[in-house]
Each structure stands twice: as C-alpha cells, then as structure tokens.
Symmetry: none
Subunit: 200 residues, 2 copies
C-alpha cells in the first residue's frame, strides 16, 4: 500500500473515529466542515484514499465508507437471541421465550442464522454439557455424524449427538443413564457451534 500524505492520514483517522463514535460513517460534507474545506476537496482526498487502498466506498450510497483495517478485524460482534428451554408443544422461537441476548464474534461463515439456547437436563454431561449451560446454535436442517445438534423431538427441543450410521440416523445422549433415541422421528434444527457456561 502506498504511503499516505499527512492530510490524507488525518482524513482517514477522522472517518475511522467518527464511525467508532456514531456507529455510522460521516458524509463528505461533514468531513469537509471538520477540515474547513469544501466538498470538492474532500472528494479528492477520498479518491486518493481509495486508490491507495485504505478506504472502500460504495457509489451513490450515503455514508458508504469502510475503513480498510490492515490487520485487526475490528468487526463488531453480532447480537443473537437467547431462548429459554422449550416445554413440549410450545413453539421454539416464540418472542416471549427470549431471555436475553448474547454477543457473538462475527465469523466468516457469514450468512447463517444463529441463536442461543439454555440447556436443561443432564443428558449430555459426558460430553461436558451441563444443566444451565448456553449453547450457540447455527440454524441448519442437517448435520453430520458426531455433531452435537438441537433436535425437535415430540415438539420439544433437545441437545443430542447425531449418529448417522449405515442404516439410519439416530440421536445419542452422552450420559450413560439415558438411552439413545432410535425409533422416533426427529427433525434437526441446528448444530451447536459453541458452548458457554457462567460460573457464580
């Protein structure tokens, strides 16, 4: 990347700082008045920053800046809803079942829908998942052998290990006191991608 002039540097910093403060980037006019120059001048600066690779810009888009961060991806984390445990028969993603929100690091995965669920029961203790733990789930309707999944079974959402063997798929609890669920139909809602547990 080319080096920036003093002025260009300051403009870039202003855009970056403004965005951090307001959660949206400035307009050309705002930049102009900050540096007491005209919009035309700012156009020049912005173009320079663009061609030098420090700034991305979308055409015809108000405040359409993105400061290209060299190394650190300062992406703000996404907020996903945390659902309480679901009793049989009730809809899973009911709005009044939302117990709070959890921040999740933005991963490159991108276009998946995520949610969090509070685990109830001890059927997965052998896999280190305990009552009260929170699992973060990526919505998907299929998974692979060995994945820990959220499955809909008798209208109830449960955490289980998916077994997808030769004959047919079944669900396995990881506490030996529980039997594997083999002969019931079930539907996979999502795959557990992260576990969180809070200590007193």
């Amino acid at each position: 990347m080319d080096k920036l002039t003093d002025k260009q540097q300051r403009v870039l910093e202003f855009i970056s700082g403004y965005t951090a403060e307001n959660s949206f980037p400035p307009t050309l006019k705002e930049i102009a008045s900050k540096f007491r120059v005209t919009i035309g001048t700012v156009q020049d600066h912005v173009n320079a920053l663009k061609t030098k690779g420090y700034l991305e810009r979308k055409k015809d888009i108000a405040r359409g800046f993105r400061v290209v961060t060299g190394s650190e991806p300062k992406s703000s984390p996404a907020l996903i809803p945390l659902y309480g445990n679901v009793a049989a028969g009730e809809p899973i993603f009911a709005a009044d079942n939302i117990q709070g929100y959890v921040t999740m690091e933005k991963r490159k995965s991108g276009h998946h829908i995520h949610f969090a669920l509070k685990v109830k029961g001890d059927s997965m203790t052998d896999s280190g998942i305990y009552d009260g733990d929170i699992v973060i789930v990526r919505k998907q309707d299929s998974a692979e052998d060995g994945d820990i999944v959220i499955a809909l079974l008798d209208d109830e959402a449960t955490v289980k290990t998916l077994r997808n063997r030769r004959i047919k798929a079944y669900l396995e609890a990881s506490n030996s006191r529980y039997k594997a669920i083999i002969n019931k139909p079930f539907q996979i809602i999502g795959k557990v991608i992260e576990l969180r547990r809070a200590y007193g």
Copy 2:
C-alpha cells in the same frame, strides 16, 4: 427494557448484522426490501425499537442508526486477550503469548481485569472443562471454597477447584485420576467466571 416482538427482533438483528458487514447501517428502504414491506412499515418498526430503547436514531441523518447493546449505550463489549497455555517458568502475561482476543459482555462488575486462557490437559473433565476449552478469568488473588481458579503452581498456570477447608487451602483436580494438590505452595491468579468451547 420492554420485550420485543418477533418482527421487531428480526429488524433489530438485521440492522445490527448489516452494520457489522458493511460498516454502515442500512437505510429504511433497504430494511423494507429485506422484509418485503414498505418504508412506512419500517418507520413503525424503527419507532417501536426506539421507544423501547433498543435503537438510537438521529433525525434527518442518512443511515443514522445505532443499535443499543445490552445495558450501557456507548460501551462496546470489551475485548480481552486470550493467552495460550503457559509452560513452566515463563511469564504468564507475556505479550507474545497472546493468541487472540475474545469479546466479553460488559458486566456490572466493572473494575476488574479479565483475561482468557486456553485450557490444556484433562484434569478438570469431571467438572465439564475439557482440553481446548477457553476459560474467562477475573483477576483476583483469593477465592472461596468451590471456586474454579487459575493457580500458579511451580511457575505454571493451571485450572483447579479451590478447597478452602478448616485447616488449609488446597487444590483439587476434578478428574479422579489426578490427586489433589495439598502440600505445595500455590498462588491464586484469578477466578474462572465463564467457560467457552467451540465445536468444529
């Protein structure tokens, strides 16, 4: 804060996600086309989010949204350093031992120092802490009976359960194949307040 309806929730998530992806928030029109409704409808949703306190908005400002996260309006979630496992004798908080950063929800606790540590070994498996898990630790030099702590023992940082009984304090592994550590001097570095585990 009032609870959000299902639709409002989805709108809020869209705004949050769009902003994370583009570094600037969406327009009303973009929200509208995402949900296949008209701008007028989005105005209603946005106003609802505003009055319920989940969203801030500047008047007459293009893309002037700010998603209010959790309790504090301006504080973004804290980034805390993730340290790799520490070999004996080496300084624990060395800068070149930082393996990354983890976002942590801002808690009311406030004035504590936190860090994250990658767990190595299987001495805590009976408590559901496995090799490769990440623990989030609040720095403190004492703890109570039953707390899971990071202790410095022979210049090495380990995860153990603190036992603070009548006679003296000692450290207990939660895998029965390991013995409790009773007669060695140790120093408590911090208390584990959260556990995270990523699944493939």
